[in-house]
Amino acid sequence: MADLIILVTLLALGYGFGRYSESTHYASIRKREKTLNAIPAIASRIPPQGNPNFDSQLVSGSVVISVDYFKRFIAGLRNLVGGRMTSYETLLDRARREAILRMKEEADRLGASMVFNLKLETASIHKGRRNKIGSVEVLAYGTALTPN
C-alpha cells in the first residue's frame, strides 16, 4: 500500500511539474527562436563562394535535459505495446531546439550573420543505468561567419 502511495505521489509530482516546465520551456524557445531567426543555421558544408570577406569561428551550444517521472512511466507502458513514444519525442525536440538556440546566441554575441555546417550530436547520459533513456545531452555546433 505504501509503495502505491509513493508511486502515485511521484506520478502526480512528475505530471504537474513536468507539464509546467515543458510549457514554459516551449514558450521561451518560441520567443527566442523568433528573435534569432535573423541568423540562419545552415547544414550545408560549403561556405558561400564569391563573397570572401568572412571571419570564421566555431560556436557551440549544449543542454542536458531530463524527462519527468510521469512521462517515463508512460513510456514504460508504451514499451509493452510499441508505437510512438510521444513523451521522448518532445524531450528530444526541446533539447535540440534549445541547443541550437544557445549556439545561435553565441553567434549573435560575435556579431555573426550566419552559422554554417550545423552538426547535432546526441548522447544519452543514463545509458549505463538500467538501460533507460531518462536524460539526454544534445550538442549543436557550427561555424559562425562574421562579415569583416
Partner: protein
C-alpha cells in the same frame, strides 16, 4: 588560431596540411550532482549541473586539441568534430578532433 568545422576557410588559402590533431577528456559526475539529478528525474527539466560539467570537459578536450595543433605549428584547425561516448555508468569521454593546417 582559427577554429572551424568547415573544410575550407572562405577567402583564405590553405598552404599546408599538418594532419589530424585530437584532444579528449574523461569526466565523472560527483555524488552531489547525481543526487540533484535524481530529483530532477522526477520533476523533469534541464540538469544545469550536467550541462556545465559536460561543457567544461568539452572545453578541456578542445584546449588539448589546440595545444597539439600549436605544437605542430598550425595556425588553424579545420573540420572539427565532437563526439561523446559513455565508458562506464557515470563517466563520459568527450573527444574533439580536426585537421591542423597552415593558412595564409
Amino acid at each position: 588560431m582559427i577554429v572551424s568545422n568547415l573544410e575550407i576557410l572562405p577567402g583564405k588559402k590553405i598552404t599546408k596540411h599538418l594532419g589530424l590533431v585530437q584532444g579528449s577528456s574523461v569526466r565523472a559526475k560527483h555524488v552531489g550532482r547525481d543526487l540533484m539529478a535524481g530529483l530532477k528525474n522526477i520533476f523533469g527539466g534541464e540538469l544545469k549541473g550536467y550541462t556545465e560539467l559536460l561543457q567544461e570537459s568539452r572545453q578541456e578536450a578542445h584546449e588539448r586539441m589546440l595545444e597539439q595543433a600549436k605544437a605542430v605549428g598550425a595556425n588553424a584547425v579545420l573540420n572539427i568534430r565532437f563526439s561523446t561516448s559513455s565508458i562506464a555508468a557515470g563517466a563520459a569521454e568527450l573527444f574533439a578532433y580536426g585537421t591542423a593546417v597552415i593558412v595564409e
